[in-house]
């Protein structure tokens, strides 16, 4: 570099040296837009199919330039987590910082290399634009700033959940999942973008974003308060919920390259963490919030102390009514107690949920079988309204030859016997027919009992559906079953329970499944008879579905009610065709706890309205 000193005077002639510039061609550029650079932050593009309307872009926008606009032509699907809202940009406010791009969970919104927009006359509205895939003018400009791994602002990995090792858990019914520590829970909660897709998807519309936020702030009591607004079975749901919310979670969506490395928030485990972190006494206080001060003087009878019946009871008591729940079994909980094994849902957690429900004033009468100990007529007479919430307690049979043998049993019957402590002969080898979660529950329970008695697991699950594609049970159930030594034979249909001459069960005969549904989508399995196998066993367990024990209603009432293919017909609020009778839960709407809870709320609201 040439040095210039302060005292250098310069020369008046020096500028003349630059006269050479007069001979040069002017380099003034034409006023035509030149192409922008490869990562230019120009106008937005939005892939309408990838966009799920989660509003994260709107939330991070520092100039409030983004408005979520309803697009009626886009179909909403709460269970899949798709809203028909799409971002519209106010270019009078946008500063092209591209934070919307970097936070988008699905990489739908991106910036293009387009940067010219001219507004004619008074078309000032033209600065408010709904970007599409081909840009704001439909000119298909190339992409500019798109999300990279570095620029992605979301934390896409779940905090790992600790589990008991297979060899440690296989001979007992202890709970498998460890649960979060406080630090893990706070970190997991911090990942939430508060889109609320989970709340839309949840049948009971639990305020997941709110309680996740409370957990993030370390306020577990507040989290439990949010939970009790919609779910008195929060301990149960914190462990065995089918977590439809997590399927809808915007964080669980495919990332930029379409791979599923992005994981949804562990909403269920967070719920479990908050519930376990608050004392029973405190939860009881929380549950009492919002109790009606005045008693209504009305009384309601509820048949069945499962999640649906007890949720209905909980709501109605809080609204000031008197509620009596009639339960045929010695303890409350329904299928959550007599269907879900302890290693998934420890009994004391369920007991606590029920204790809290009872603490608001729900009365439960145990060992009372309606239809035998008390008639429907009597209930009608003594109460202003009656709710049937008896669930699906009877197992269905495959009705293949030999299925009437005493060594062929129903999964629900067996699952009921284990927590009750009823003795039965544990088979040395068993085959379970069915591929749903109930099939996995009984297979894994039997495996544990076998391990305890014989030190060896010999359980085979035979299902019509194919693993990895159409299989019904949750992935984690399948994974854990396989870890525990259970053999899963998929795409196989039962043909016969082979009985020997002495009347003893010998084996299950299965054939290969070619297809399960016909062209109209009806259940009509087709088999390849040439591919047949015999699975020797001491017991066959049928886990192919359940039905309600409707005879308890009595002939007269059954005649009076309207039915739809064997199910009681109810309206959207659970009201039957008889004006004093409602029905809730699995028997009318299945098939899980959270749906039963949601159903309970609906029925309780409707009854409350009716009684007023």
């Amino acid at each position: 570099m040439k040095k210039i000193n302060y005292n250098d005077k310069g020369s008046i002639l020096n500028p003349l040296k630059n006269l050479q510039f007069f001979a040069r061609k002017p380099i003034t550029e034409k006023l035509e837009p030149r192409p922008a650079s490869a990562s230019y932050r120009g106008f937005h593009i939005n892939d309408m199919d990838k966009c799920i309307g989660c509003s994260s872009c709107q939330k991070i926008c520092d100039n409030a330039a983004i408005t979520m606009v309803e697009i009626p032509s886009i179909k909403e699907d709460a269970a899949k987590g798709i809203r028909n809202l799409r971002p519209a940009i106010d270019y009078g406010r946008c500063c092209w910082c591209a934070l919307c791009v970097d936070i988008c969970p699905t990489s739908a919104i991106e910036l293009s290399r387009e940067y010219v927009h001219v507004c004619d006359g008074d078309e000032t509205d033209s600065y408010f634009v709904l970007p599409q895939e081909n840009g704001i003018h439909g000119l298909n400009f190339e992409k500019g700033w798109t999300k990279t791994e570095d620029s992605d602002l979301l934390d896409r990995k779940r905090r790992p959940m600790g589990e008991m090792e297979p060899e440690e858990r296989i001979d007992n019914f202890n709970e498998i999942v460890d649960g979060f520590t406080l630090q893990m829970a706070v970190e997991e909660a911090s990942r939430c973008v508060d889109c609320g897709l989970c709340e839309d998807a949840c049948p009971a519309h639990m305020h997941a974003p709110n309680y996740i936020r409370s957990i993030y702030e370390g306020n577990l009591e507040q989290a439990v308060e949010w939970m009790y607004e919609t779910n008195p079975f929060s301990h149960v749901c914190g462990r065995v919920c089918t977590h439809i919310c997590e399927d809808a979670c915007s964080l669980g969506r495919a990332d930029k390259d379409g791979n599923k490395s992005s994981q949804p928030i562990a909403i269920r485990w967070l719920k479990r963490f908050a519930m376990d972190g608050v004392s029973k006494t405190k939860i009881k206080q929380i549950a009492k919030k919002g109790m009606a001060r005045k008693k209504s003087g009305k009384s309601i009878a509820i048949i069945g102390a499962g999640p649906a019946g007890l949720t209905t009871a909980f709501d109605l008591v809080k609204k000031g009514h008197k509620v009596t729940v009639y339960e045929a079994l010695p303890k409350a909980g329904g299928m959550t107690r007599y269907g879900i094994p302890n290693y998934r849902l420890p009994e004391d957690r369920l007991d606590q949920d029920i204790e809290v429900i009872q603490s608001v004033g729900v009365e439960i009468k145990y060992n009372v079988r309606v239809g035998i100990d008390i008639s429907m007529k009597q209930l009608e007479k003594d109460n202003d309204a009656v709710v049937v919430a008896i669930g699906l307690q009877n197992g269905r049979s495959t009705r293949v030859a030999g299925s009437d043998n005493k060594a062929v049993v129903k999964a629900v019957d067996l699952l009921r016997m284990i927590p009750k402590g009823d003795k039965f002969e544990v088979p040395k080898s068993a085959v379970v027919i069915g591929g749903g979660n109930v099939a996995m529950d009984i297979a894994r329970s039997l495996a544990r009992l076998q391990k305890q008695q014989f030190k060896k697991v010999n359980v085979t699950v035979s299902a019509l559906e194919a693993l990895g594609t159409t299989f019904l049970a949750d992935d984690e159930e399948v994974k854990e079953s396989l870890e525990e030594g259970i053999v899963i034979l998929d795409s196989r249909g039962p043909r016969e329970c082979v009985i020997d001459k002495t009347g003893k069960l010998e084996s299950l005969h299965t054939v290969k499944v070619e297809s399960i549904f016909d062209e109209q989508g009806r259940f009509a399995p087709k088999y390849d008879e040439s591919d047949s196998q015999f699975h020797p066993c001491d017991m066959v367990v049928e886990a192919i579905g359940q039905m309600s024990d409707v005879p308890i209603l009595g002939d007269e009432l059954t005649e009076e009610l309207e039915w739809n293919r064997g199910r009681m017909q109810v309206d959207e609020n659970g009201a039957t065709s008889v004006n004093w009778l409602w029905s809730a839960g699995d028997m009318v709407k299945g098939p899980d706890v959270i749906n039963a809870v949601a159903d309970g709320h609906r029925v309780a609201n409707d009854i409350d309205k009716y009684l007023k």
Partner: protein, 380 residues
């Protein structure tokens, strides 16, 4: 302009007149104004009025998420926005107790020095224009545009890069970027003769600039002046050297100084600094390919990002002087308080009023430009 300032006002029976220049006067940089009391063409009193922005950046920041402020801070100094981003990010990182990966630190240095080059090209072109020489201004702006092309290349934005984020930078450099940078540095060096001929060794300019707006070292320190303006008074204070941040302690560069403290000394310091920045950038080009690794330390989900309670003062050397962010967090998702130490607030208000007093009217614009003020740093 306010209606009362439409015309010169005679003050009482005296020969003094009050006139108003700005806020859109060509000799004014940015949105601020000066009210001058003149006796003949000598300034008796100058009063600055920086209140033409009305944006209130510091207050705005208290209402926005930590990450959202990244889009606001560069606006505090349009010609030199990079130090704003870096300084804010450094302050937040200090509170969080994290550090940007080493590669990101080198990239930040590159961005800062490129920004300084762009800012100085802008300023000395503007300085020349205040003396009636418009060609250096056109050249300065045109050459600055080439720097902006590079900003566009690696940050996606020409002026507001919004490229930094607490924890690092937002994306990797594009392929072949360092070669482009190298070519630009070659070009800028090749322009040195042209600029020297037209401006720095032009006797007309030298004579106009010499002896105008003299600031003594003592006065400069009293007024809190930093940056090239202070170095033009003979004090070699530079945050990069005296309180090194990022990787400046690994770089080899000089701190140009002058003794006279006038407009000519100030522009000479800027000229020399520009070439020191080029020297630093050459070292970055050499070093950067050898540093592999991440460019960002992950931060929590920005929508629920509570920065732990604490405070930090992070300073950097911007083209105007010592720029610092004093950030206080009460543990919430937004800053509790952000204070910006804009270097211009030290030399564009009282210092300018002080220097304007006794100056000739035609030198006021030159004094202002030679101080290189960025009004939003005052009215923040």
């Amino acid at each position: 302009m306010r209606p009362e300032n439409y015309q010169a006002v005679q003050l009482g029976e005296s020969n003094e007149y009050e006139i108003f220049i700005g806020p859109n006067h060509p000799g004014i940089e940015g949105n601020y104004a000066l009210k001058l009391v003149l006796d003949g063409d000598i300034v008796v009193k100058g009063t600055t009025d920086a209140g033409y922005l009305h944006r209130g950046f510091e207050k705005l920041m208290e209402g926005r998420l930590w990450i959202q402020n990244l889009a606001i801070v560069p606006r505090i100094c349009v010609p030199d926005p990079a130090p704003m981003e870096v300084s804010y990010s450094l302050a937040v990182e200090e509170i969080m107790g994290i550090e940007a990966p080493i590669r990101a630190q080198w990239i930040r240095v590159m961005q800062l020095e490129l920004s300084r080059v762009a800012a100085h090209l802008f300023t000395f072109g503007g300085h020349a224009a205040t003396t009636g020489m418009y060609t250096p201004m056109y050249w300065g702006v045109a050459d600055r545009d080439l720097v902006l092309d590079l900003f566009e290349d690696f940050t996606g934005g020409r002026v507001y890069s919004i490229y930094n984020i607490p924890g690092g930078v937002r994306r990797e450099l594009p392929n072949g970027f360092l070669e482009k940078l190298s070519n630009l540095l070659d070009y800028l060096e090749s322009r040195q003769n042209d600029y020297d001929n037209l401006l720095f060794t032009n006797q007309i300019f030298v004579q106009r600039a010499k002896g105008v707006g003299i600031l003594s070292k003592e006065d400069a320190l009293d007024y809190g002046v930093t940056g090239p303006n202070l170095r033009a008074c003979g004090l070699a204070f530079d945050v990069r050297r005296d309180d090194p941040y990022l990787v400046y302690d690994q770089l080899d560069f000089d701190i140009p100084t002058q003794q006279a403290g006038d407009a000519w000394a100030r522009i000479l310091v800027r000229r020399d600094e520009l070439f020191q920045s080029i020297r630093i950038l050459r070292q970055v080009i050499e070093k950067l390919p050898t540093i592999k690794g991440p460019i960002r330390t992950p931060i929590p989900n920005p929508l629920s990002w509570n920065v732990r309670a604490g405070e930090a003062y992070a300073r950097v050397e911007s083209s105007k002087g010592e720029l610092a962010y004093y950030v206080v967090s009460d543990g919430g998702d937004k800053p509790y308080r952000v204070h910006v130490r804009g270097p211009s607030s030290m030399h564009a208000v009282q210092t300018l009023e002080y220097l304007a007093k006794g100056a000739r009217l035609e030198d006021v614009a030159q004094i202002m430009f030679s101080l290189d003020a960025c009004p939003p740093e005052v009215d923040r």
